[in-house]
């Protein structure tokens, strides 16, 4: 029982880091640059599809991943230059509307290009092994790779945002673009570059998960809300917050699913507990968010206003 608990703890952490990896690009664009980007999910999806295509073209997942990065960077650049740059100074709701439109366009585009059937990518031999954990349960090496990628992304983002002038300028630009410009910084160019970088992070996440998750036209939308939940729980504008939020969601979701019914059985009839567990399980993440926001209206690490 304890070993199972520890294992589930590990699973929760790992799921949380996966979530952070997926949300990282959004943390940058939405959390730091203050742009409500509903298109984050579809860029993530495009990343996964590109990884599939490039991998089958080159025959190597590693190469596929490497090609996906510049490709999604270019996609981000194209989106920024054509649409996003004209929306920074607009209300959030305009951004919602425009990116909602982009979601429709890109989703349909992906279906036209790649079809509706789920696709997949073969993970490289080298990483496809697993090692024994407890009993018959083995832990896949690739999961470790994902954990490492997520941690590195988190660390990198944190350093850039909190400890470089680029990060300062981004945060400054998010609250007052024209002042930043009037102090001599080409904020448009900076935003363009960082936006494209954010798209690349999304693409990176998509390519990273392609070997473990299904690649299908619904995958982007599936994670979009989760990504927002993670960032909002952590507090908008804080990389640390997003990371904490991701871990929390991962843990609560995983532990809630596996031990929630057991806990419920301790306080009610088994049948009722089963029923209640089934009702509550899918709500867990949302209950978590509602409770956190009710107690801390600006998230865990958000600035109080």
């Amino acid at each position: 029982m304890t070993s199972l608990f520890l294992l589930q703890l590990l699973n929760g952490v790992q799921f949380g880091i996966l979530l952070f990896l997926i949300a990282a690009g959004l943390t940058l664009v939405f959390g730091i640059m203050d742009f409500v980007n509903l298109a984050h999910g579809v860029v993530y999806m495009v990343g996964a599809y590109l990884a599939v295509t490039f991998t089958s073209m080159t025959g190597s997942y590693g190469l596929g991943l490497l090609l996906t990065l510049p490709a999604t960077l270019l996609l981000g650049l194209a989106l920024e230059l054509s649409v996003f740059r004209r929306l920074y100074d607009r209300p959030h709701l305009d951004q919602v509307l425009a990116t909602f439109g982009l979601v429709m366009i890109i989703t349909e585009g992906v279906e036209i290009l790649w079809g509706a059937a789920p696709l997949s990518v073969q993970m490289p031999e080298m990483l496809s092994g697993s090692f024994p954990l407890i009993g018959a349960m083995r832990y896949p090496v690739y999961r470790l790779v994902i954990i490492a990628a997520g941690l590195l992304t988190a660390l990198g983002l944190y350093l850039i945002i909190s400890h470089t002038r680029i990060g300062m300028r981004l945060r400054a630009g998010a609250s007052n673009r024209s002042m930043v410009a009037a102090l001599g910084v080409d904020i448009s160019k900076l935003f363009t570059v960082i936006f494209a970088f954010g798209a690349m992070l999304a693409g990176f996440a998509g390519a990273m998960v392609a070997p473990v998750l299904t690649v299908n036209p619904g995958m982007g939308e599936q994670v979009l809300i989760l990504a927002f939940v993670v960032i909002v729980i952590g507090g908008i504008g804080s990389v640390r917050g997003a990371f904490a939020g991701a871990l929390l969601v991962g843990l609560v979701d995983t532990l809630g699913r596996s031990f929630g019914p057991i806990l419920l059985r301790a306080v009610m009839e088994p049948a009722a507990a089963g029923q209640a567990g089934r009702v509550l399980a899918p709500m867990l993440v949302y209950i978590l968010m509602a409770v956190i926001l009710a107690v801390r209206p600006a998230g865990l690490f958000g600035a109080k206003t």
């Binding site: 199972l4 294992l7 589930q8 699973n11 929760g12 790992q14 799921f15 996966l18 349909e108 279906e111 079809g115 509706a116 059937a117 789920p118 696709l119 997949s120 073969q122 496809s128 697993s130 024994p132 407890i134 009993g135 018959a136 349960m137 083995r138 832990y139 896949p140 690739y142 999961r143 070997p211 473990v212 998750l213 299904t214 690649v215 299908n216 036209p217 619904g218 995958m219 599936q222 994670v223 995983t254 532990l255 699913r257 596996s258 089963g274 089934r278 399980a281 899918p282």
Partner: protein, 366 residues
Amino acid sequence: QDDDTLKIGLILTLSGPGAVLGEMSRDGFQLAAEEIGDIGGMKTEIVIADAEQKPDIAANKARELVERDEVDIVVGPIFSNILGAIHKPVTDSGAILISPNAGPSVYAGAECNPNFFATSYQNDQMHEVMGAHAQEEGYQNVFLLAPNYQAGKDSLAGFKHSYDGEIAGEIYTQLGQLDYSAELAQIAAMQPDAVFAFMPGGMGVNLVKQYRQAGLETIPFLSAFTVDESTLPAQQDAALGFFGGSNWAPDLDTPENKAFVEAYEAKFDQVPASYAMAGYDTAYLIDAALREAGGVADKDALIAALESAPFTSVRGDFSFGPNHFPVQDFYLTEVVKREDGKFATSVVKKIFDDYQDNYVADCQMN
């Protein structure tokens, strides 16, 4: 409306995550329609609508089909909750509704309707096949896994209907869940004799890959709608040797099936799944019934003709029960890699012969 033109409306999910199923169904139907030419000997017009996997939108599109396009027959949908939304508007209008996939229990039982037919199966049956198989194998301890929604609950109920052994654990996962490590850890801890899963679509892809990666493949994986030709291109090797229950498989040995699979693969460059098969069969059923009834003018005659199922199904034995649901054979299937490198399910053995659903007794057709 001319008596010599036939209008058929297809309402299937053609966008969103479930689109691949709808597309297969549509392609199967159209393949048959091309082979037949004039369905029922009538000039045929086929109108296609996208149900979008949104029930209320589907309900409107169904009404558009029967009220604006005035179709005689509606074929669809894929998903049970969509059927709930379109069933009434279509049957109320007097049109005939034929489901090539969804077969929820209400319409097999209490709310059966003369204008409604299912050419697929009653939803519970696929799960019952696996339950019966588990029973036959003498598994003492089976772990059950399904998403937390109506079809998921029905599936586990279906499995238990024909399996009497112990249930090692019964987990309802979230719809659209990404990561199954928590569930897999539980399975690893319990070491059941077998796992039964109902995980349609992308969820099945995630589960199967992760199941294999977690090294659990020594525990037999029984499933329904989880490993089939719609998901195998994504699951590939990970699904090899996994079991499913079905009323059909591409290598089912009938001459009609051989012809169908060959034609389908030639045309669409993919292995058909049962959705395509049911679409294909549906077109032939309509054709044969129309020829027998002499057109669409007399609906009662057409219904009577449909009831007699005057066609040769690619499945071989096929007839309708009094509730307009099929009486057919069910098989255990297993995922194999074919010689051409493609993945497909393959018949292992027949589990049920001429099997009828459990709700037919509740049906008072009038």
